[in-house]
Amino acid sequence: MTDRTPGFSTLSIHAGAQPDPATGARATPIYQTTSYVFDDADHAASLFGLQAFGNIYTRITNPTTAVLEERVAALEGGTAALAVASGHAAQLMVFHGLMQPGDEFVASTKLYGGSINQFGHSFENFGWNVKWADPDDISSFEKALSPKTKAIFIESIANPGGIVTDIAAIAAIARKARVPLIVDNTLASPYLCRPIEHGADIVVHSLTKFMGGHGNSMGGVIVDGGSFDWSADDRYPMLSKPRPEYNGMVLHETFGNFAFAIAMRALSLRDLGPVLSPFNSFMILTGIETLPLRMQRHCDNALAVASWLEKHPQVSWVSYAGLESSPSHELMKKYAPKGAGAVLTFGIKDGYDAGVKFVSNLQLLSHLANIGDTRSLVIHPASTTHRQLSDEQKVAAGAGPEVVRLSIGLEDVDDIIADIDQALTA
């Protein structure tokens, strides 16, 4: 297909995946191997010196995982990607590449509860200090900046609140401060939103969710947008300074617009080690082939459920950017016009106890701590995912005591609604 730019569905199936060169296998084989033979000593030296493309050890590259990486890079419009063991591992690695002890980064308060924990507590041990900003008040991001700021982190569609973040406005603040904008695009998936097109420099995902899509395999990914100038000053030494690990090589100079992905692989993944299993790569790749079909159905079902809930007497409010009543609806039309995703929250009348009872009454929806499955899922964040947050943090993250989060699956929407209806009224 010379010089024709393939569409999203075509890329979802084909990007990165030629027939296997060794066997002609059309599906991507599972290369379940730890290591790879060298042709000779010179070949080994070239690989270790990053001078040749090729495989050494599955902690650094793997042919099955490489297909997944190229696939996601193509879908996000990035220059390169690196797949890792989980979304949390992806975040750890990105900040390992950007931060020195004592540095700061600015993060949205509207994040997945696990990220709030990771940033607010675990990262403290590394001397990486988070400053929180409220995406409903864009100026708070600017106010949180300091000379020590190395990055800004947001979610495109925020979990769990059904809130869409103004990516371009925050990208403008990041550009002015000359720091990269990192966007967690897990809830949207590149089918709904491609943050790099709106000014993001780095995109991360939990592949565990909509990309894999079947609730069977953990994974994470880091996508290099290729846009950030790492050498403009001395603030990103992993990219701009000679690396002693590679005999003084300067990664940005050597690898240009995919240098960040190489740094993530050759330094962060190599040395921290949260590698993705090739089997999981295969499962997630298989999921991605149907991403456009699944994601549209997720959105259509979620909008139907949200609209129905909005009229229910037991429901005090519904937060879903696909609803015209949502404060995020205008931003959704700009950033995710095909749909607002599968995840929505609603407030149940009578608060915490009613939330716990609703969840236990459900027969079709599964009570568990995940999103982005073919199955419809439910959780009461205040008693589970966001339990470790303070009451103020819970409210700020959209996880107050009356909040129920749904991740709407691909079942017949009438069956989903019927189950929610009986659970609300039982």
């Binding site: 297909m1 010379t2 010089d3 393939p6 075509t10 890329l11 084909h14 990007a15 990165g16 030629q18 027939p19 296997d20 060169p21 060794a22 002609g24 042709d39 070949h43 070239s46 010196g49 001078q51 040749a52 493309f53 090729g54 495989n55 590259t61 042919p63 995982t65 490489a66 297909v67 990486e69 190229e70 890079a73 193509a74 990035g78 220059t79 390169a80 990607a81 690196l82 797949a83 000679p242 590679y246 005999n247 003084g248 090589m249 300067v250 100079e253 050597t254 240009g256 995919f258 992905a261 190489i262 692989r265």
Partner: protein, 172 residues
């Protein structure tokens, strides 16, 4: 030709047709990008001549290094320039003095000189600027995807193999 908009077919044709490449600004330092490209192109079977006055008379990767393009023995199909943009016009003038004329003037990432490019094109040479032949070869062969890099190509054809799995040949 409008530079910075090269079709994959254009790049593929160049990489398939040229056989001898002079690398102006080739480094003997194994962590420099120009050394990487030299080594990679040798591994892919091209005949490569390093050109660098500072290394003249010495060898890089077993290849004798020359002080100037004029000293390279035999015809040069492509001149790959690893120098600052302002050095490009003089290198193009030197290339114009070669007989036969090189088919291609190629400048590396970040190396751009429009006037020199026009001069080379008027003389009948093809010009590619602000690209890396290693990246382009790796991209068009699919090999660059082994490192998770977006090759921006898709194909339902089994990749050609050359010298075993680790050396994938160019996609035809």
């Amino acid at each position: 030709m409008f530079h910075d908009q090269y079709s994959d077919a254009t790049i593929r044709a160049i990489l398939d047709e040229v056989k001898t490449i002079a690398i102006v600004g080739a480094s003997a330092n194994p962590v420099r990008p120009s050394f990487f490209v030299l080594k990679y192109l040798i591994d892919k079977g091209y005949t490569v001549f390093p050109v660098n006055p500072g290394q003249a008379g010495k060898e890089i990767l077993g290849r004798p290094c020359f002080a100037s393009l004029g000293e390279v023995p035999g015809p040069v199909d492509m001149v790959d320039i690893f120098r600052a943009s302002e050095a490009v016009p003089a290198i193009v003038e030197e290339a114009l003095g070669l007989a036969p004329l090189p088919k291609v003037i190629w400048t590396q990432l970040g190396v751009v000189h429009e006037a020199a490019a026009m001069r080379a094109e008027e003389a009948g040479m093809q010009v590619i600027m602000n690209r890396c032949p290693k990246i382009e070869y790796g991209r068009l062969s699919g090999e660059i995807g082994w490192t998770g890099v977006n090759s921006r190509t898709i194909s339902s054809k089994r990749p050609a193999m050359r010298g075993g799995f680790q050396h994938r040949g160019l996609r035809k």
